[in-house]
Assembly symmetry: C2
Homo-oligomer: 445 residues x 2
């Protein structure tokens, strides 16, 4: 029972392949696309990733964290760009805490190269998953290069084939599988702020830049080459939307009016806008994530979420570490292992989905709201004074390994407390007075 398939050679698939190889399994990794290490990098299609603690833990488990740290850029704060060009900063956590901008392609390549060092991992590219026969654990692939069909039988199958998972689509037809997919009303488009001529960054590279505009926003994350990858998150339809911005004139006028400080740094804006696709954002929940002791969904295949908490990849990597821990706890005994994993992990997938969705409102709207910013300041002060009593929700999600479902509950409780604190007289004047801290202490009892 040592032959394992991984369907999907993305970030989570390659990581899981390594972790299973380390346990002594023979791992076959099937990927729909060609080997991305031989392909030209396709831009305009992928949001930059923000690696944080949950992701790092998994990379450490795979022994690759230091390699990745070398190609990542720490971001210590949000930097908000107001309409008048003024900047305000909000630290993500304590001084030594940061999230890390990293290229999806670069990270994926590193993981694949590391996997190639294992003699018991083999990659098969250009293999489109056509079918999975659950009764016999038989995978059917279309070899898109040779135009042939292949069938393979495995003892265990890990499906890491993303938000539109073919394996999950097959499980959806099996009985008692609950599933939902929902598209956000907003889509996104990738744009770019190129480097200065000397290769330096045009903005502070150690910030995640946000242009919060209420109903929508633009963000920018630094790349190693001095450029920034910008992403416009924007309504698909409606008065101000991708649907209504049709001509170069309309797009130019809109950006001049809405992101005036950015537009001067975006010389290829109009070409990028019309060359790059408008992408949609899907949310997927399902349960269970397994089929008996044979098939397990991991990563986006199990829980596609919106990117606004920077947790999509981090959550997928945490799937792998949690599986690793449970596997070791069970001493490698598979009986009921996948059932138990699914039971434990589904609520966490659902929780981070909800958290990420809400964070869109926070990023595009609340980061420009004085009440919201004050809440964060008061929380940060209290958390510094009483770290054992209060960890801000953002930190729980980003800088801890607290279960997402617990973080969600904690966050809801903290919100009820902060709602009361914000009712205190003249809180905007008095927030730094000791009685505010005392009030919070009293409320927490």
């Amino acid at each position: 029972m040592k032959n394992v398939a991984v369907v999907g050679a993305g970030l989570v698939g390659s990581l899981q392949a390594i972790l299973m190889a380390q346990k002594g399994y023979n791992v076959s990794v099937f990927e729909r696309r060609e080997d991305l290490r031989k392909a030209k990098l396709i831009s305009g299609k992928s949001i930059n990733l923000a690696l944080s603690d949950r992701g790092w833990k998994a990379l450490e488990l795979a022994g690759i964290a230091e390699d990745i740290r070398a190609i990542s850029i720490p971001m210590h704060s949000r930097c908000m760009h107001a309409l008048d060009g003024s900047l305000s900063y909000q630290p993500y956590g304590k001084e030594d805490q940061a999230i890390y901008s990293v290229s999806r392609g670069g990270l994926n390549q590193k993981l694949m190269n590391l996997a190639d060092d294992y003699p018991n991992i083999e990659y098969f590219f250009d293999r489109k998953c056509q079918d999975l026969e659950l009764a016999s654990n038989t995978l059917t692939f279309n070899n898109t290069k040779e135009k042939t069909t292949e069938k393979h039988v495995f003892d265990r199958i890990f499906a890491t084939d993303g938000a539109f998972s073919a394996v999950r689509m097959r499980m959806q037809k099996s009985t008692l599988f609950d599933y939902s997919q929902k598209y956000l009303d907003h889509g996104y488009k990738e744009l770019v702020i190129p480097a200065n001529e000397d290769g330096s960054h045009k903005l502070d590279k150690n910030c995640l830049h946000i242009w919060p505009r209420g109903e929508f926003m633009m963000i920018a994350l630094a790349n190693l080459d001095g450029s920034f990858t910008c992403t416009l998150f924007f309504p698909m339809k409606g008065e101000t939307s991708f649907e209504t911005l049709k001509t170069r004139e309309q797009v130019g006028g809109f950006f001049e009016k809405t992101f005036p400080d950015a537009v001067s740094m975006m010389p290829t804006l109009l070409d990028d806008y019309f060359d790059n696709p408008t992408s949609t954002l899907i949310m997927v929940r399902c349960t269970p994530w397994n089929y008996q002791d044979k098939v397990l969904l991991l990563g986006d295949a199990a829980h596609a979420i919106v990117p606004f908490y920077g947790q999509g990849m981090n959550c997928g990597f945490e799937d792998c570490t949690v599986f690793d821990e449970m596997y070791k706890q069970a001493n490698g005994n598979w009986d009921g292992l996948l059932d138990r994993f699914s039971d434990q992990r589904v609520p966490d997938g659902n929780a981070i989905l909800d958290l990420a969705l809400f964070n869109y409102v926070e990023m595009r709207d609340l980061t420009a709201d004085p009440d919201f910013l004050l809440r964060k300041k008061i929380e940060a002060k209290f958390s510094n004074l009483y770290p054992e009593k209060w960890m801000p929700l953002y930190s729980q999600v980003t800088f801890s390994h607290i279960r997402y479902s617990d973080a969600l509950k904690n966050g809801q409780y903290q919100q009820t407390i902060m709602d009361q604190v914000m009712q205190l007289d003249d809180i905007h004047q008095n927030w730094n007075e000791p009685f505010v801290m005392e009030k919070m202490l009293a409320l927490l009892v």
Copy 2:
């Protein structure tokens, strides 16, 4: 643009075929199974249907209502069977109102026979839908008898292929299609109370019989041959569940204890229990129900619901009448027609799903609750006095053509009023006093 496909020759598909043929279209109906008129009727797999006003309206539109009335049995009341065998009755509506027990197979045959009278309708059986290419409106079928593959192109496609719709599965892969499927924790099993030797019914045939038992229930609907089709709705897992009732002894003991008055009328209970499958109950929501002006989901393919309001078929039939009305309003112009249909109809599909789910609790639990029964009595009295001010929710759903989404809202409003009425002093003694009616009048202002 006159060639229309209907995928699925069930109740809604056959009805829609007739309605489109009446409009002058050439209609091809594709069905996965063999012609049910030539097949042996398979029992043990289908809950008896309760036809009500929305269904009748559609049958009248197709000119078949009288034929069906002749093979249906009116049910004027619920008849609740208590554990001690005592019976209590609750009328469904006013004296002349009833829901009608009808056989799914019989109704489907009638609809097919009627469709066969149209020279512009052709049925193709043993055709399993394999794929739908949305860009070209090309349907691919597996001819399961000839073992061949067929491709057909149509101007319009109606998908009436049920809760596990192959067409919908294809639409699910198109962008911005929201979809959810969820299984109820409870499943069902069909059982039977045979006729007396003289062919008469063992119970009042003009009632829908319910054995409400809190967490689960059994129901029975009369057939024309003197028998009753019984359905046990029961948890799939847990302490008392399909999973735990394993032996003939356990099943016999459970029925003796739980349905003592019924068990004496069920001589084949144990054989039926183990011969008939345990079926699951799925709920499906999606939006939109259309793909451009080309493909439209109708019936269970668009909105699979639980059977507890007796509205699954009625809602599907109403889809057809609403489409018919909108088509006529648009004078047969398809531009935007399916978009408008979907926009209007999706909220109604969602509403009846919610209503049906809640009605399970009502049927299995509340029908044995004195407070609930009193509410119904007070509502009925008030509704008789002020019919223009109050129509009970059950009547709105069953005996009216009020949109389901409006009925749901009305019902929620009525509940807030009844909550207050039930707070009146000694309401169980005083419910028939004039001041109760006056209070309701005052609350409604």
